[in-house]
Symmetry: C2
Subunit: 185 residues, 2 copies
DNA sequence: GTCTATACCATGATAGAC
DNA sequence: GTCTATCATGGTATAGAC
């Protein structure tokens, strides 16, 4: 499953064959079918894996960050931490969603659930900042911003751009926090 | 070429077969090979087509918009104009770049040239606004913002989100124009 | 220029020996 | 659980008749 996850990320789901995955874990194709009967079955398993990994990561950030702003900054910083892989292969979440959309694949909605985890987590953090009804919109804005940054990082391989957008996101976040603090008083 | 362009957009390049394209224009597969000898050849033709169409569109906006802000707003509004197709298939430019990146395809750089056309056009508009050295960064920011909006529009199929981000972009643009006008004085 | 026929290969998937 | 052998399908690409 880890090998399939990595190959789906690097080569795309459709372009990755059973032979690729079996070869990566040094199994014969025949044996591979003992574990996963169809390609959709291993895709489901990979998405489950990603959902679980995402939940664990978000829980980690919740424990790590002292304030909502610090926690949201953990999210923003994955663009820097995974910069090399994002420049080569894009965002794992966004690219899978987009591919499954083009394939009109049944698992499309489940792939979008990974995005939904980030969205809901960010929404909760903005609510903790006092954003109220606005929290969902702010969460989607940050999520979209990071997606756009990943897309252009992949297209142009421009490290300076990524750094600048991340700094911009942090500055925007601080400004939002100040604005919401003022509104609270 | 138009049929291939549309199919590459809707189904992805890799997932579209010669039979699909030949069938769409009611040609036999054999005959199709008379016109395009390899799949890469038709991909090159499609990218050329897109480059040309993009140049024409940008030239149209240059003529249409009375001011740099009005012209950049033309760019922002394609998210609204193409909303239905973007929600179904994503941004044509971004999704092709991402797919070719995963396929590690030789045409990857040429696909990114379409992005570069938008980037350079936006840079020139921000320069006309008086942004100077900052123009390139502002151009990439707008381009990334629209890419992120397209990515989430595709994942969540949320029309309200798209409208809100477009309004946000226009407001941001107006604020930048005011800031640059003040700095000029 | 257009077609049929076909070579050739990779793929998803199965059967069955060990 | 692991393997080899095999099948059916569909893909890119070519040859050659008309």
């Amino acid at each position: 499953m880890a090998a399939a996850d990595e190959l789906f990320y690097r080569q795309g789901f459709d372009h990755t064959s059973f032979a690729d995955i079996a070869g990566a874990v040094k199994l014969s194709r025949g044996n591979f079918y003992y574990h996963f009967r169809t390609k959709d079955e291993i895709l489901d398993a990979v998405i489950d894996r990603r959902l679980e990994a995402t939940r664990a990561m978000l829980a980690g950030w919740a424990a790590e960050g002292a304030s909502p702003v610090a926690r949201i900054e953990c999210f923003v910083r994955i663009l820097i931490m995974n910069q090399i892989r994002i420049m080569a292969y894009g965002c794992p979440v966004g690219t899978l969603c987009q591919e499954l959309a083009k394939l009109d694949h049944a698992a499309r909605a489940r792939a979008a659930d990974v995005f939904a985890l980030f969205r809901d987590w960010l929404t909760a953090e903005f609510e903790a900042l006092g954003a109220g009804d606005e929290a969902g919109a702010l969460a989607l804005h940050v999520l979209g911003w990071s997606q756009g940054t990943a897309a252009l990082a992949n297209a142009f391989k421009d490290e300076v751009f990524v750094r600048r957008e991340v700094d911009g996101m942090c500055a925007w976040l601080a400004a939002q926090a100040r604005r919401l603090a003022r509104a609270r008083r």
